[in-house]
Symmetry: C2
Subunit: 175 residues, 2 copies
Amino acid sequence: MSLRAVLLITLQREPGTGYDILQRFKAGLAHVWQASHQQLYRELDRMRSDGLLTCETLPQTERPDRKVYRLTEAGLQALDTWLAEPLAASPVRQPLFAKFFAWERWPEQARREELTAFREQLKERLTTYAAIEREWFSEPQALTPAQRAPWHTLRLGQRLTETWVEWVEGVMEEE
Amino acid sequence: MSLRAVLLITLQREPGTGYDILQRFKAGLAHVWQASHQQLYRELDRMRSDGLLTCETLPQTERPDRKVYRLTEAGLQALDTWLAEPLAASPVRQPLFAKFFAWERWPEQARREELTAFREQLKERLTTYAAIEREWFSEPQALTPAQRAPWHTLRLGQRLTETWVEWVEGVMEEE
DNA sequence: TAGCCTTATGCAACAAGTTGCATTTGCCCA
DNA sequence: TGGGCAAATGCAACTTGTTGCATAAGGCTA
Protein backbone atom coordinates (compact mmCIF):
# COMPACT_ATOMS: atom_id res chain seq x y z
CA MET A 1 0.00 0.00 0.00
CA SER A 2 2.79 2.45 0.75
CA LEU A 3 3.92 2.98 -2.83
CA ARG A 4 0.34 3.88 -3.65
CA ALA A 5 0.23 6.32 -0.72
CA VAL A 6 3.47 7.95 -1.78
CA LEU A 7 2.08 8.41 -5.28
CA LEU A 8 -1.09 9.93 -3.89
CA ILE A 9 0.99 12.42 -1.93
CA THR A 10 3.29 13.41 -4.76
CA LEU A 11 0.39 13.79 -7.20
CA GLN A 12 -1.63 15.74 -4.67
CA ARG A 13 1.18 18.27 -4.45
CA GLU A 14 1.36 18.48 -8.22
CA PRO A 15 -0.05 16.36 -11.09
CA GLY A 16 2.50 14.69 -13.29
CA THR A 17 3.59 11.74 -15.38
CA GLY A 18 5.33 8.55 -14.30
CA TYR A 19 8.56 9.95 -15.58
CA ASP A 20 8.11 13.18 -13.59
CA ILE A 21 7.55 11.22 -10.41
CA LEU A 22 10.65 9.18 -11.06
CA GLN A 23 12.69 12.37 -11.26
CA ARG A 24 11.21 13.60 -7.98
CA PHE A 25 12.10 10.26 -6.40
CA LYS A 26 15.67 10.69 -7.56
CA ALA A 27 15.99 14.28 -6.46
CA GLY A 28 13.94 15.62 -3.55
CA LEU A 29 12.46 12.34 -2.32
CA ALA A 30 15.64 10.28 -2.37
CA HIS A 31 15.50 9.73 1.40
CA VAL A 32 11.77 8.87 1.35
CA TRP A 33 11.04 6.42 -1.41
CA GLN A 34 12.71 4.66 -4.29
CA ALA A 35 10.98 2.65 -6.98
CA SER A 36 11.74 1.51 -10.50
CA HIS A 37 10.00 3.05 -13.49
CA GLN A 38 8.33 -0.29 -14.26
CA GLN A 39 6.79 -0.34 -10.83
CA LEU A 40 5.55 3.24 -11.16
CA TYR A 41 3.89 2.83 -14.54
CA ARG A 42 2.17 -0.35 -13.43
CA GLU A 43 0.92 1.15 -10.18
CA LEU A 44 -0.30 4.37 -11.82
CA ASP A 45 -2.32 2.35 -14.29
CA ARG A 46 -3.86 0.31 -11.48
CA MET A 47 -4.71 3.41 -9.51
CA ARG A 48 -6.39 4.88 -12.56
CA SER A 49 -8.45 1.76 -13.08
CA ASP A 50 -9.36 1.89 -9.36
CA GLY A 51 -10.65 5.43 -9.88
CA LEU A 52 -8.03 7.19 -7.75
CA LEU A 53 -6.46 9.05 -10.66
CA THR A 54 -7.47 10.48 -13.99
CA CYS A 55 -5.15 10.30 -16.92
CA GLU A 56 -4.83 12.88 -19.65
CA THR A 57 -2.76 11.92 -22.65
CA LEU A 58 -0.79 14.79 -24.12
CA PRO A 59 0.27 13.84 -27.63
CA GLN A 60 3.77 14.93 -28.46
CA THR A 61 5.11 15.10 -31.92
CA GLU A 62 8.11 12.89 -32.44
CA ARG A 63 8.07 11.45 -28.90
CA PRO A 64 5.93 8.94 -26.97
CA ASP A 65 2.84 10.62 -25.51
CA ARG A 66 3.03 12.05 -22.01
CA LYS A 67 0.35 10.71 -19.69
CA VAL A 68 -0.41 13.26 -17.00
CA TYR A 69 -2.05 11.77 -13.92
CA ARG A 70 -3.97 13.78 -11.32
CA LEU A 71 -5.95 12.90 -8.20
CA THR A 72 -9.68 12.35 -8.27
CA GLU A 73 -11.96 13.01 -5.31
CA ALA A 74 -11.69 9.30 -4.48
CA GLY A 75 -7.93 9.62 -4.61
CA LEU A 76 -7.92 12.46 -2.10
CA GLN A 77 -10.18 10.45 0.15
CA ALA A 78 -7.92 7.40 -0.08
CA LEU A 79 -5.02 9.63 0.93
CA ASP A 80 -6.90 10.98 3.95
CA THR A 81 -7.83 7.46 5.01
CA TRP A 82 -4.20 6.37 4.81
CA LEU A 83 -3.02 9.40 6.78
CA ALA A 84 -5.55 8.73 9.51
CA GLU A 85 -4.47 5.18 10.26
CA PRO A 86 -1.12 4.57 11.96
CA LEU A 87 1.62 2.69 10.13
CA ALA A 88 2.58 -0.83 11.09
CA ALA A 89 6.11 -1.26 12.43
CA SER A 90 8.42 -2.08 9.55
CA PRO A 91 10.23 -5.42 9.75
CA VAL A 92 13.98 -5.36 10.37
CA ARG A 93 16.17 -6.75 7.59
CA GLN A 94 19.88 -5.98 7.77
CA PRO A 95 21.87 -8.35 5.57
CA LEU A 96 25.09 -6.53 6.46
CA PHE A 97 24.52 -7.32 10.13
CA ALA A 98 24.06 -10.96 9.17
CA LYS A 99 27.59 -11.01 7.75
CA PHE A 100 28.91 -9.94 11.12
CA PHE A 101 27.41 -13.09 12.58
CA ALA A 102 29.58 -15.13 10.20
CA TRP A 103 32.73 -13.22 11.09
CA GLU A 104 35.12 -16.22 10.96
CA ARG A 105 33.99 -17.27 7.51
CA TRP A 106 34.01 -13.71 6.14
CA PRO A 107 37.39 -13.32 4.41
CA GLU A 108 39.32 -10.31 5.64
CA GLN A 109 39.85 -8.80 2.23
CA ALA A 110 36.21 -9.13 1.23
CA ARG A 111 35.32 -7.54 4.54
CA ARG A 112 37.58 -4.56 4.03
CA GLU A 113 36.37 -4.02 0.50
CA GLU A 114 32.75 -4.28 1.49
CA LEU A 115 33.03 -1.89 4.39
CA THR A 116 34.98 0.61 2.30
CA ALA A 117 32.42 0.49 -0.51
CA PHE A 118 29.64 0.79 2.01
CA ARG A 119 31.18 3.88 3.57
CA GLU A 120 31.44 5.43 0.12
CA GLN A 121 27.75 4.78 -0.49
CA LEU A 122 26.92 6.48 2.79
CA LYS A 123 29.04 9.50 1.95
CA GLU A 124 27.41 9.81 -1.45
CA ARG A 125 24.09 9.79 0.29
CA LEU A 126 25.24 12.62 2.53
CA THR A 127 26.24 14.56 -0.56
CA THR A 128 22.78 14.04 -2.02
CA TYR A 129 21.18 15.20 1.22
CA ALA A 130 23.31 18.33 1.26
CA ALA A 131 22.30 19.11 -2.31
CA ILE A 132 18.61 18.68 -1.46
CA GLU A 133 19.00 20.89 1.59
CA ARG A 134 20.70 23.64 -0.40
CA GLU A 135 18.11 23.49 -3.14
CA TRP A 136 14.92 23.20 -1.11
CA PHE A 137 15.60 24.32 2.44
CA SER A 138 18.25 26.98 2.30
CA GLU A 139 16.58 29.13 4.97
CA PRO A 140 15.10 26.86 7.66
CA GLN A 141 13.92 29.83 9.74
CA ALA A 142 11.73 31.10 6.93
CA LEU A 143 9.87 27.82 6.43
CA THR A 144 6.16 27.45 7.07
CA PRO A 145 5.18 24.45 9.23
CA ALA A 146 4.16 22.49 6.13
CA GLN A 147 7.56 23.16 4.56
CA ARG A 148 9.35 22.53 7.81
CA ALA A 149 7.94 19.01 8.14
CA PRO A 150 9.75 17.52 5.13
CA TRP A 151 12.85 19.37 6.24
CA HIS A 152 12.71 17.39 9.49
CA THR A 153 12.79 14.13 7.58
CA LEU A 154 15.85 15.26 5.72
CA ARG A 155 17.60 16.14 8.97
CA LEU A 156 16.86 12.73 10.39
CA GLY A 157 18.13 11.06 7.24
CA GLN A 158 21.35 12.98 7.65
CA ARG A 159 21.76 12.14 11.30
CA LEU A 160 21.10 8.44 10.74
CA THR A 161 23.57 8.32 7.90
CA GLU A 162 26.20 10.09 10.00
CA THR A 163 25.67 7.52 12.74
CA TRP A 164 26.20 4.75 10.21
CA VAL A 165 29.40 6.38 8.96
CA GLU A 166 30.82 6.73 12.46
CA TRP A 167 30.03 3.11 13.15
CA VAL A 168 31.58 1.77 9.95
CA GLU A 169 34.70 3.81 10.57
CA GLY A 170 34.88 2.57 14.15
CA VAL A 171 34.60 -1.04 13.04
CA MET A 172 37.22 -0.57 10.31
CA GLU A 173 39.66 1.01 12.72
CA GLU A 174 39.35 -1.77 15.23
CA GLU A 175 40.87 -4.37 12.92
CA MET B 1 18.58 -14.14 -1.46
CA SER B 2 19.14 -12.56 1.92
CA LEU B 3 16.66 -14.67 3.85
CA ARG B 4 18.43 -17.70 2.47
CA ALA B 5 21.79 -16.28 3.53
CA VAL B 6 20.56 -15.54 7.03
CA LEU B 7 19.30 -19.11 7.30
CA LEU B 8 22.65 -20.46 6.13
CA ILE B 9 24.39 -18.44 8.82
CA THR B 10 22.10 -19.41 11.68
CA LEU B 11 22.19 -23.09 10.71
CA GLN B 12 25.95 -22.99 10.28
CA ARG B 13 26.26 -21.82 13.88
CA GLU B 14 23.93 -24.56 15.04
CA PRO B 15 21.51 -26.95 13.26
CA GLY B 16 17.87 -26.58 14.14
CA THR B 17 14.23 -26.62 13.13
CA GLY B 18 12.15 -23.87 11.60
CA TYR B 19 10.62 -23.22 14.94
CA ASP B 20 14.05 -22.95 16.60
CA ILE B 21 15.14 -20.39 14.05
CA LEU B 22 11.99 -18.39 14.61
CA GLN B 23 12.83 -18.20 18.31
CA ARG B 24 16.36 -17.02 17.53
CA PHE B 25 14.89 -14.36 15.24
CA LYS B 26 12.70 -13.16 18.07
CA ALA B 27 15.42 -13.18 20.69
CA GLY B 28 19.05 -12.62 19.71
CA LEU B 29 18.55 -11.69 16.05
CA ALA B 30 15.70 -9.21 16.52
CA HIS B 31 17.82 -6.35 15.12
CA VAL B 32 19.07 -8.41 12.16
CA TRP B 33 16.21 -10.22 10.54
CA GLN B 34 12.51 -10.85 10.96
CA ALA B 35 10.44 -13.35 9.02
CA SER B 36 7.16 -15.19 9.48
CA HIS B 37 7.05 -18.90 10.21
CA GLN B 38 5.35 -19.52 6.87
CA GLN B 39 8.23 -17.92 5.07
CA LEU B 40 10.79 -19.91 7.04
CA TYR B 41 9.22 -23.30 6.46
CA ARG B 42 8.83 -22.63 2.78
CA GLU B 43 12.39 -21.41 2.35
CA LEU B 44 13.90 -24.27 4.37
CA ASP B 45 12.09 -26.78 2.17
CA ARG B 46 13.36 -25.07 -0.96
CA MET B 47 16.90 -24.99 0.35
CA ARG B 48 16.68 -28.69 1.09
CA SER B 49 15.44 -29.43 -2.39
CA ASP B 50 18.33 -27.30 -3.73
CA GLY B 51 20.76 -29.46 -1.78
CA LEU B 52 21.92 -26.78 0.66
CA LEU B 53 20.44 -28.50 3.71
CA THR B 54 19.70 -31.98 4.94
CA CYS B 55 16.62 -32.69 6.95
CA GLU B 56 16.29 -35.24 9.73
CA THR B 57 12.81 -35.91 11.03
CA LEU B 58 12.65 -36.59 14.75
CA PRO B 59 9.32 -38.22 15.56
CA GLN B 60 7.73 -36.97 18.75
CA THR B 61 4.94 -38.71 20.54
CA GLU B 62 1.83 -36.58 20.85
CA ARG B 63 3.29 -33.63 18.93
CA PRO B 64 4.08 -32.90 15.29
CA ASP B 65 7.51 -34.22 14.27
CA ARG B 66 10.49 -31.91 14.58
CA LYS B 67 12.46 -31.48 11.36
CA VAL B 68 16.07 -30.68 12.13
CA TYR B 69 17.90 -28.98 9.29
CA ARG B 70 21.68 -28.79 8.94
CA LEU B 71 24.07 -27.43 6.32
CA THR B 72 25.52 -29.60 3.58
CA GLU B 73 28.87 -29.00 1.94
CA ALA B 74 27.00 -27.17 -0.86
CA GLY B 75 25.29 -25.07 1.78
CA LEU B 76 28.60 -23.99 3.28
CA GLN B 77 29.89 -23.15 -0.15
CA ALA B 78 26.79 -21.08 -0.93
CA LEU B 79 27.38 -19.18 2.30
CA ASP B 80 31.00 -18.47 1.40
CA THR B 81 29.97 -17.27 -2.04
CA TRP B 82 27.44 -14.90 -0.52
CA LEU B 83 29.95 -13.57 1.99
CA ALA B 84 32.49 -12.89 -0.74
CA GLU B 85 30.26 -10.68 -2.86
CA PRO B 86 29.35 -7.21 -1.63
CA LEU B 87 25.73 -6.38 -0.88
CA ALA B 88 23.72 -4.08 -3.11
CA ALA B 89 22.60 -0.82 -1.53
CA SER B 90 19.18 -1.32 0.00
CA PRO B 91 16.37 0.86 -1.40
CA VAL B 92 14.97 3.58 0.86
CA ARG B 93 11.31 3.24 1.85
CA GLN B 94 10.11 5.43 4.70
CA PRO B 95 6.31 5.67 4.70
CA LEU B 96 6.42 7.79 7.87
CA PHE B 97 8.51 10.38 6.05
CA ALA B 98 5.91 10.40 3.31
CA LYS B 99 3.29 11.50 5.81
CA PHE B 100 5.43 14.52 6.64
CA PHE B 101 5.13 15.55 3.01
CA ALA B 102 1.35 15.69 3.43
CA TRP B 103 1.55 17.76 6.60
CA GLU B 104 -1.52 19.95 5.91
CA ARG B 105 -3.78 16.99 5.27
CA TRP B 106 -2.48 14.98 8.23
CA PRO B 107 -4.96 15.65 11.04
CA GLU B 108 -3.30 16.91 14.19
CA GLN B 109 -4.78 14.30 16.47
CA ALA B 110 -3.83 11.41 14.17
CA ARG B 111 -0.35 12.87 13.99
CA ARG B 112 0.04 13.07 17.74
CA GLU B 113 -1.24 9.54 18.22
CA GLU B 114 0.96 8.15 15.52
CA LEU B 115 4.11 9.80 16.78
CA THR B 116 3.38 8.73 20.35
CA ALA B 117 2.78 5.13 19.32
CA PHE B 118 5.89 5.23 17.20
CA ARG B 119 8.00 6.47 20.08
CA GLU B 120 6.67 3.63 22.20
CA GLN B 121 7.67 1.11 19.56
CA LEU B 122 11.17 2.55 19.53
CA LYS B 123 11.45 2.39 23.30
CA GLU B 124 10.31 -1.21 23.30
CA ARG B 125 12.98 -1.94 20.80
CA LEU B 126 15.56 -0.37 23.08
CA THR B 127 14.32 -2.60 25.89
CA THR B 128 14.76 -5.65 23.67
CA TYR B 129 18.28 -4.53 22.78
CA ALA B 130 19.16 -4.07 26.43
CA ALA B 131 17.90 -7.57 27.20
CA ILE B 132 19.96 -9.06 24.38
CA GLU B 133 23.02 -7.16 25.54
CA ARG B 134 22.63 -8.36 29.12
CA GLU B 135 22.09 -11.95 28.05
CA TRP B 136 24.73 -12.32 25.36
CA PHE B 137 27.30 -9.57 25.77
CA SER B 138 27.53 -8.78 29.44
CA GLU B 139 31.33 -8.41 29.36
CA PRO B 140 32.36 -6.67 26.13
CA GLN B 141 36.04 -6.69 27.11
CA ALA B 142 36.10 -10.47 27.33
CA LEU B 143 34.71 -11.05 23.83
CA THR B 144 36.70 -12.74 21.08
CA PRO B 145 36.71 -10.89 17.74
CA ALA B 146 34.06 -13.28 16.37
CA GLN B 147 31.84 -12.56 19.35
CA ARG B 148 32.63 -8.89 19.26
CA ALA B 149 31.37 -8.52 15.68
CA PRO B 150 27.70 -9.25 16.42
CA TRP B 151 28.02 -7.03 19.47
CA HIS B 152 28.91 -4.15 17.14
CA THR B 153 25.69 -4.64 15.23
CA LEU B 154 23.72 -4.46 18.43
CA ARG B 155 25.44 -1.23 19.40
CA LEU B 156 24.62 0.33 16.07
CA GLY B 157 21.01 -0.78 16.37
CA GLN B 158 20.87 0.96 19.72
CA ARG B 159 22.44 4.17 18.48
CA LEU B 160 20.18 4.37 15.45
CA THR B 161 17.12 3.80 17.58
CA GLU B 162 18.24 6.46 20.03
CA THR B 163 18.66 8.90 17.17
CA TRP B 164 15.11 8.11 16.05
CA VAL B 165 13.78 8.68 19.56
CA GLU B 166 15.50 12.04 19.88
CA TRP B 167 14.11 13.08 16.53
CA VAL B 168 10.53 12.02 17.27
CA GLU B 169 10.64 13.84 20.59
CA GLY B 170 12.04 16.94 18.95
CA VAL B 171 9.29 16.94 16.35
CA MET B 172 6.60 16.38 18.97
CA GLU B 173 7.88 19.23 21.10
CA GLU B 174 7.91 21.66 18.26
CA GLU B 175 4.13 21.60 17.86
C1' DT C 1 -15.07 -27.43 31.18
C1' DA C 2 -14.54 -24.01 27.63
C1' DG C 3 -11.21 -21.17 25.67
C1' DC C 4 -6.64 -19.49 24.91
C1' DC C 5 -1.44 -20.20 24.73
C1' DT C 6 2.51 -22.96 23.29
C1' DT C 7 4.73 -26.38 20.49
C1' DA C 8 5.30 -27.63 15.59
C1' DT C 9 4.22 -27.85 10.96
C1' DG C 10 2.44 -26.37 6.45
C1' DC C 11 -0.60 -24.93 1.89
C1' DA C 12 -2.73 -21.48 -1.10
C1' DA C 13 -3.69 -17.04 -2.69
C1' DC C 14 -2.27 -12.65 -3.01
C1' DA C 15 0.61 -8.24 -2.96
C1' DA C 16 4.92 -6.05 -3.70
C1' DG C 17 9.32 -5.68 -5.77
C1' DT C 18 13.00 -7.16 -9.31
C1' DT C 19 14.94 -8.32 -13.77
C1' DG C 20 15.03 -8.62 -18.53
C1' DC C 21 13.52 -7.00 -22.64
C1' DA C 22 11.30 -3.71 -26.00
C1' DT C 23 9.92 0.68 -28.57
C1' DT C 24 10.74 5.56 -30.80
C1' DT C 25 13.05 9.89 -31.79
C1' DG C 26 16.38 13.62 -31.07
C1' DC C 27 20.67 15.19 -29.48
C1' DC C 28 25.48 15.13 -28.47
C1' DC C 29 30.10 13.54 -29.01
C1' DA C 30 33.92 11.07 -31.09
C1' DT D 1 28.07 8.48 -39.37
C1' DG D 2 27.82 5.38 -35.65
C1' DG D 3 27.00 4.82 -30.70
C1' DG D 4 25.27 6.00 -26.59
C1' DC D 5 22.26 8.89 -23.66
C1' DA D 6 17.81 11.16 -22.52
C1' DA D 7 12.90 11.40 -22.90
C1' DA D 8 8.81 8.43 -22.38
C1' DT D 9 6.37 4.32 -22.06
C1' DG D 10 5.34 -0.52 -21.04
C1' DC D 11 4.85 -6.15 -20.86
C1' DA D 12 6.13 -10.68 -18.93
C1' DA D 13 8.29 -13.65 -15.85
C1' DC D 14 10.17 -14.20 -11.65
C1' DT D 15 11.29 -13.70 -6.55
C1' DT D 16 10.10 -12.22 -2.08
C1' DG D 17 6.95 -11.20 1.54
C1' DT D 18 2.04 -11.17 3.57
C1' DT D 19 -2.43 -12.97 4.94
C1' DG D 20 -5.67 -16.36 5.84
C1' DC D 21 -6.51 -20.78 7.07
C1' DA D 22 -5.56 -25.54 8.91
C1' DT D 23 -4.01 -29.37 11.98
C1' DA D 24 -3.09 -31.55 16.59
C1' DA D 25 -2.15 -32.19 21.59
C1' DG D 26 -0.98 -30.61 26.14
C1' DG D 27 -1.11 -27.11 29.79
C1' DC D 28 -3.02 -23.10 32.12
C1' DT D 29 -6.76 -20.20 33.85
C1' DA D 30 -11.30 -18.25 34.60
